[in-house]
C-alpha cells in the first residue's frame, strides 16, 4: 500500500526539479534534525551534512542508503519519523533528491559531523600501531639480566627502587618447570637427576629436554584448545558427536610437538584447504572453523547461517587478532573502532564455508593431498554407475518394505553381487581415504552485504572481503586461485604479514600468560580500546619481533622466557610490594596460580602410578557418578564409560561433551566450551573441595598410591611417608610432618596410608606450585 503510494506520487515532482533548500531541507529540519541534527544524534546519526549522513549511525551504513527505506515504510522494523510517516509528497521529494545524488547544495559545510571519538582514539591505540623497535634498557644490575626479558622487567623495578624476588629454590624450580612444560610432576629419578646439581645451566638443558617430550605437546595443545572453543559435540537437543573431530586435537598436539611455525599453524587452520600443498593435516586443521556449537534444528535457518559465520569470525578475530569484532554484527561496535562494514567484510572472507550435512547429521569428509582427493573423486565417479545399477535392481524389492532382501530372486542377487565385486575392485585399487572433520570452500562464496541490525533479510550495501579498516592503511590483496576464492588464504597471509600489528603480539602474550598466569596484556583476547594496556609494552614488542625473526617458533619463545631470571623468581610474597602493586603488574615476583584441572587430574594419575601415557586417537570416557547424569535428558545413553585403562589417559583425551562436562572438570574451572576462552578462571568454592576430597576419582587413586607406597617402600612406615612426599611434592617431609603422619597412621593403621594419600592430593602445596 505504502509502496504503491510512493510509486504513484513520485511523478508529482518533476525530475530534476527538487531543490535541496526549497524542497528537502524544510522536511529534514522539521522531521529529522530534531533527533539527527546539530543538537541530538540519536543512534549516533546526524543528517545535516552530506559527510555526516554518509557516515551513518550505529548501523555503520550510509544514511543516504537507508533514508528512503525507513521513510517509505518499506522496512519492517524501522519506520521514520517514528509514530507517523511523512506525507506522500514529502517522501516523493526526498526520493527524488536522493535519486539526483543527494546534494546538500551550499549547505553549511562547517557542520560536518565530528569524527567518532572511538576512531580518533583507535588510530592512536597502541595495539594498532606497528611494533616499536624496542632496545633492552640499561639496568643497574646487569648481572641479573640473563637475557633481554630481564632487562625490561628489571628496569621497571629499578625505576621504583625495587629489587626482583630472589631465584626460587631448586626444588621449586624443578616442579615449576615440569608443570609448566608438561603438566606432570617430576618422577623420583628426574628429581634426583636435577637436584644433584641444580645449576642454571642444568635447568636450561632440562627445558630443552622437556619440550621434546610428548607430554609437552599434550600440555600445550590443551592451552590452544581453550582458545579455539574445542569440544567434540554440537550441544543443543541431540548434542551430536562431531565425527572425527579428535583428529583436530591430534593435529594440534603434533603441531606443538614438531614446533610448527605459528604463522604456518594459523594459515593451516584458517585456510588449510586453499593451500598449494593441501594434505590430510592441512584439511584437518580447518576443523578450527567447525568446532563451535551447532544447532541442528535452528529457529530460523537464515539467522543460523549467520550465527555459524559469527562463531567463525568471533573465534578467529579473538584468537589471532585479540579483537572482539563479533560485537559489530548488528551495528558499529559500541566501544571499539570497528564498524558493521568491517564485520561484514569478514563475513565475505568466510562466506564460502558451510557445514557439510545431511539433514541433522553432520558429515565428515575424506582427507588427503589434492592428488589423493582427485583420485578418490575420479574413482567414485567411475563407481557411480555400478552403484546406480544396484539401486535400480534393488528398487522394486525395497519398495516391499521390511524383509525385502528375502524376496530378491537369486539371479538378481547374482547380478548385484557382480556389481558389488566391481565396486570392491575399485576400492581395492584406490582405497578409501581417511576422513576428517573440517570445512572447506565447496563453492564460490555468495555476495555479502551489510545486514542492517544484523538481520539476514535486511540487506544493506554490498561488501567485499576486507580486514578491519582501522588496522591498515591499505587493504591487503584478496586474490583467488584457480580452485577457490582464496579469501581466507589471503586473510591468513595478512594475519602473518609484517603489516599486521596484532597477530604476533597476541600469540606472544598468550604464551607469556600460559607461563606466568597473567599476560603482559591482561586481557589476552582483547587488545582493543576496552582491553588492558600492556604492563611492559616494550618487552611485548621486543618479544613479538624476536618471535617473528626466529621463524614464529614457540619452542624458541618458551626457551627465551624460561631461561630468564624473571621466570625463575621466587613466588615469595613481599608485603610492602604487595601493598603498592597488589596485581604484581611490575612482575616483582612470580605469581601463584592454581593448576588447571587437567594438570591436577593428570598428576594424581602420574603419582598413583596409573597414568596411561597412550597418545592420540578417539577420546575416552572416564566414569562419571550416576548422580551427575541425572541432569541429562538421556541419563542412560549419554556416557558409556571406557575401560579403566583408557579412563586413566591424560585429560586432553577425555571426551569434551557440551551438554555433559565431566563434573570434576566443571567444578574446577574448565573453560567455557561455547566460545573462545582467553584464560582459565580460578574460583575457590566448596564444591571443588567436595570433588577432590570425597569424589571417587581421588579416593580411588589414593588407594592406588597407598598400594604403590607399600610396594615400593616395603621396609618401613618412614620410608613410605618419605616416598609419598617425594612423589607428590618432590621433597622429603620435615620432622614435624613425619611426626604428624606417623601419629595419624597410628590411629588408623589399616586405612591410614590411603588417607594420607588422599590428604596429600588435596594439599595446597600440591595444586599451587611454588
Amino acid at each position: 500500500m505504502r509502496m504503491l503510494l510512493g510509486l504513484v506520487l513520485v511523478p508529482a515532482v518533476a525530475a530534476g526539479a527538487v531543490d535541496f533548500h526549497t524542497h528537502v531541507r524544510p522536511i529534514l529540519e522539521r522531521s529529522c534534525y530534531p533527533c539527527h541534527g546539530p543538537k541530538a544524534q540519536m543512534h549516533g546519526l546526524r543528517l545535516d551534512s552530506r559527510a555526516a549522513a554518509e557516515k551513518g549511525g550505529e548501523s555503520g551504513v550510509s544514511a543516504l542508503h537507508l533514508i528512503y527505506r525507513y521513510i517509505s515504510g518499506q522496512d519492517k522494523d524501522i519506520k521514520m519519523p517514528p509514530g507517523k510517516l511523512l506525507p506522500a509528497d514529502d517522501i516523493a521529494a526526498i526520493k527524488q533528491w536522493l535519486d539526483d545524488g543527494a546534494h546538500y547544495s551550499g549547505e553549511a559545510v562547517a557542520s560536518a559531523a565530528p569524527e567518532d571519538e572511538k576512531f580518533v582514539r583507535g588510530r592512536k591505540h597502541w595495539a594498532f600501531q606497528p611494533r616499536a623497535v624496542a632496545i633492552p634498557p640499561h639496568v643497574k644490575r646487569p648481572a641479573w639480566a640473563r637475557n633481554p626479558i630481564d632487562a625490561f622487567v628489571l628496569a621497571k623495578l629499578e625505576a621504583k627502587g625495587w629489587t626482583p624476588s630472589p631465584q626460587a629454590e631448586p626444588r621449586d624450580l624443578l616442579r615449576r618447570v615440569y608443570f609448566d612444560l608438561t603438566g606432570l610432576p617430576p618422577t623420583i629419578a628426574e628429581q634426583n637427576a636435577f637436584l644433584s646439581a641444580p645449576t642454571p645451566a642444568a635447568l636450561d638443558k632440562l627445558i630443552g629436554e622437556l619440550m621434546e617430550r610428548p607430554a609437552y605437546a599434550e600440555r600445550w595443545a590443551r592451552h590452544w584448545l581453550d582458545v579455539v572453543r574445542y569440544a567434540e559435540s554440537n550441544g543443543y537437543e541431540r548434542d551430536g558427536v562431531k565425527p572425527n573431530a579428535w583428529k583436530y586435537r591430534d593435529y594440534v598436539i603434533h603441531a606443538f610437538a614438531e614446533d610448527k611455525p605459528f604463522n604456518r599453524f594459523l594459515t593451516e587452520q584458517i585456510a588449510g584447504d586453499e593451500l598449494d600443498d593441501v594434505s590430510a593435516d592441512t584439511l584437518i586443521a580447518t576443523g578450527f572453523h567447525r568446532l563451535g556449537p551447532w544447532d541442528d534444528e535452528p529457529a530460523d535457518p537464515a539467522t543460523d547461517r549467520f550465527d555459524q559465520l559469527d562463531d567463525v569470525i568471533s573465534t578467529t578475530s579473538q584468537a589471532f587478532l585479540g579483537l572482539t569484532i563479533g560485537c559489530a554484527r548488528c551495528h558499529n561496535h559500541k566501544f571499539e573502532p570497528l564498524t558493521a562494514a568491517d564485520y561484514y567484510s569478514m563475513v565475505a572472507i568466510f562466506r564460502g564455508l558451510e557445514r557439510p550435512r545431511s539433514g541433522r547429521t553432520e558429515l565428515d569428509l575424506p582427507v588427503g593431498t589434492r592428488a589423493e582427493l582427485d583420485r578418490e573423486t575420479a574413482r567414485d565417479a567411475e563407481m557411480a554407475p555400478f552403484r546406480k545399477q544396484i539401486g535400480k535392481l534393488e528398487a522394486p524389492y525395497r519398495a516391499k518394505g521390511k524383509g525385502w532382501q528375502e524376496q530378491v530372486p537369486a539371479e538378481v542377487k547374482e547380478q548385484i553381487a557382480e556389481l558389488r565385486a566391481k565396486i570392491e575392485a575399485y576400492r581395492r585399487a584406490t582405497p578409501d581415504l581417511p576422513r576428517g572433520y573440517f570445512l572447506h570452500e565447496r563453492k564460490a562464496p555468495e555476495l555479502s552485504h551489510i545486514l542492517l541490525r544484523g538481520k539476514p533479510g535486511a540487506l544493506g550495501p554490498e561488501v567485499q572481503p576486507a580486514v578491519p579498516a582501522i588496522l591498515v592503511k591499505q587493504q591487503p590483496p584478496f586474490t583467488a586461485s584457480s580452485r577457490t576464492s582464496g579469501r581466507r588464504l589471503s586473510f591468513a597471509r595478512w594475519l602473518a604479514s609484517p603489516e599486521n600489528p596484532l597477530t604476533a603480539r597476541v600469540i606472544v602474550n598468550r604464551v607469556w600468560m600460559w607461563h606466568f598466569g597473567e599476560g603482559l596484556v591482561r586481557t589476552p583476547s582483547d587488545f582493543g580500546l576496552m582491553g588492558q594496556k600492556p604492563t611492559h609494552p616494550e618487552l611485548l614488542d621486543w618479544l613479538a619481533t624476536r618471535f617473528v625473526e626466529e621463524g614464529w617458533s614457540l619452542k624458541k619463545l618458551h626457551r627465551l622466557i624460561l631461561t630468564s631470571n624473571t621466570w625463575r623468581m621466587s613466588k615469595a610474597l613481599r608485603p610492602d610490594y604487595q601493598a603498592a602493586d597488589p596485581e604484581n603488574r611490575l612482575l616483582w615476583r612470580m605469581p601463584y596460580k592454581r593448576l588447571e584441572v587437567e594438570a591436577i587430574r593428570d598428576s594424581v594419575l602420574a603419582v598413583s602410578g596409573k597414568l596411561n601415557a597412550k597418545m592420540h586417537g578417539p577420546s575416552v570416557f572416564p566414569p562419571i557418578p550416576p548422580q551427575a547424569l541425572e541432569g541429562s535428558s538421556d541419563p542412560d545413553k549419554i556416557w558409556k564409560p571406557s575401560s579403566a585403562e583408557d579412563a586413566a589417559r591424560r585429560s586432553i583425551y577425555v571426551f569434551p561433551k557440551r551438554s555433559l562436562i565431566v563434573p570434576m572438570f566443571d567444578a574446577l574451572d574448565l573453560c567455557d566450551t561455547a566460545r573462545s576462552a582467553a584464560q582459565r578462571m580460578t574460583t575457590t568454592v566448596p564444591t571443588q573441595a567436595l570433588t577432590l576430597f570425597n569424589g571417587d576419582f581421588v579416593n580411588e587413586q589414593a588407594r592406588y598410591l597407598a598400594g604403590r607406597l607399600h610396594r615400593e617402600a616395603p621396609d618401613s612406615e618412614e620410608a613410605r611417608i618419605t616416598l609419598a612426599y617425594r612423589l607428590v611434592l618432590a621433597r622429603k617431609p620435615t620432622s614435624e610432618e613425619m611426626g604428624a603422619m606417623r601419629s595419624f597412621l597410628a590411629k588408623d593403621p589399616s586405612r591410614g596410608l590411603e588417607q594420607i594419600a588422599r590428604v596429600m592430593f588435596n594439599l595446597n602445596e600440591f595444586v599451587y606450585v611454588d
Binding site: D295, A299, D307, T324, S632, D672, M681, T683, V759
Partner: protein, 460 residues
Amino acid sequence: MSINRRNFFFRAAGGFASLPLLDLLLRGQAVKQPHFAAKAKRVVFFFMNGAPSHIDTFDPKPALTRFDGTPYKGSLTVGSNARPVGYLMRSPFEFQKHGQSGLEISSLFPHTAKFADDLCVIRSMYTDTAAHASGCLQMNTGAVLLGKPAMGAWLSYGLGTENENLPSFVVMTDPRGGPISGASNWTSGFMPAAYQGTLFRATGAPLLDLSTPEGLDTTAQRRSLDLLQSLNQSHLKSHNNEDDLSARIHSYELAYRMQTAAASTVDLSKESEATLDLYGIHNQRTADFGRKCLITRRLLENGVRFVQLYSGGGHIEDTWDGHNDCITNHKTHAGETDQPIAALMADLKRTGLWKDTLLIWGGEFGRTPTSEGVGKPGRDHNWYGFSMWLAGGGVKGGQVIGATDEIGFEAVEDRCHVSDLHATILHLMGLDHTKLTYFYSGLNQRLTGVRGNVVKKVLA
C-alpha cells in the same frame, strides 16, 4: 575477555575488598545490594519441561469448541519439524472461574486453583524458537544460542549468597532425566563457575560428592580433614598468608559444613505428618515432586537464592511434550505437580516467606491449538503464544495479562517476550536489567540482551 582474579574482586565487590570479606569474595558471592528496593529476595522456578499447553491450562478458548475438527486457516506455520498437522482441537479440560478474581484455570490444577487470587497469569508470552533445546536455553539464559549464563547465575552474580554453606542456585531435575541441553540450562557461561547452578537431589546425598567416601565414618573423615588443614595451615604460614591459599583452606571447611547443612535440608524426618500429607509425599504420584517442593521450602529458609524445579525429564511423553497424547500427558504431569506446588504456596504463606519469594511457573513455549495428526490427541510446539504465571513477592495476583488470538495460537495483546519476563523478574529482585551487566567479549552482556521491558502490570 576473561576475568582475572583482580577484576573479579572488583566486580564482585564494586570496589576493593576488605579483608574479612575475602573468603566470600573469592567465591564472588558476598551479599550485594540490589539496584533498588527488592520486592522479592528469592525465586522458585517451576519449570514445566517440554512445554505445557496453555490452551489446556490457563488460557481457555471457547472458540475452539466451535472450530473443533476444522482445519486451521491462518498464516502461521504450525508446529515443528514437519510433524503431521491435524485440525483445531478444543480443550478436553473444563475451565472454571476461581477465587474472588474469577481467574480461569482448567481442571488440571484443582490445588493451584485455590490460590487463584495470588496468580498473575501472563497469557501473551512468546519466544523465538520452536525447538526444545533453544527454547529451554532462551527461557533459562535469555538466548537461543548456547553458552550464556542462566538467570540463577545472573542473580547470584547480582545479589550474592545469603548462606555460604549452601549453593545459592539450586537445580532439581525430574527422576526421568534432565531437560534437553542438560547443564547448559544452569551454566554460568562466561562468568566464573562460582555462579553456576548446582544439581541437588531430593533423596540420598543431595550434592555430588557430598557424602563421606565409602567405609569412612564421620570421625575418620574429620581426622583426615584435620590432617589436611593442619598441613595446609603450616604451608600457609610459610607462604606469608597468601590470599588464594587461605581461601582454599576455608573452602574445605565450608565443604565440611555443607555436608551437614545440605544433608539436613533433605532430612524430612522432623517434618510433621500433616506437612508431608500437605505436599503429597505419602502419595506415590506426588511423592517425588512433593519432596522437592518441601525441600525447596527448607532451602529457601536457609538462604538459597534461586531454586529451579523441573517437572518432566528426558523426551516427549516423559516431559510435558504431549505430541502423541496431550491429554494423558498433561494429566500425568499436572497430577504429579499440582498438589506439591499448592502445598509450597500454602507453606510459604504459613512461614511468612511468601511475601518476598517469587514463584514462576511455565515451560519453554506452548502448544498448538491444532492436534498433531487428524483425530490424534497430541499437540505440537507453539512459540507464538503461551502462558506462564507468577506469584508471591511483589506480584499483583488474581489477574490475567495479555491475550492470545481467538484460537490461542498467537499472542496478540500485551505481547510479552521471554526477555520481558526476565526484565520483570530481575525488577522484582531489585535489579535493573539494563544495569545488571557483565563485560565479556567486548560487550556489556545482559540477561536480556538488547531487549526486554519490565511488564509493569505484573507489579503489585
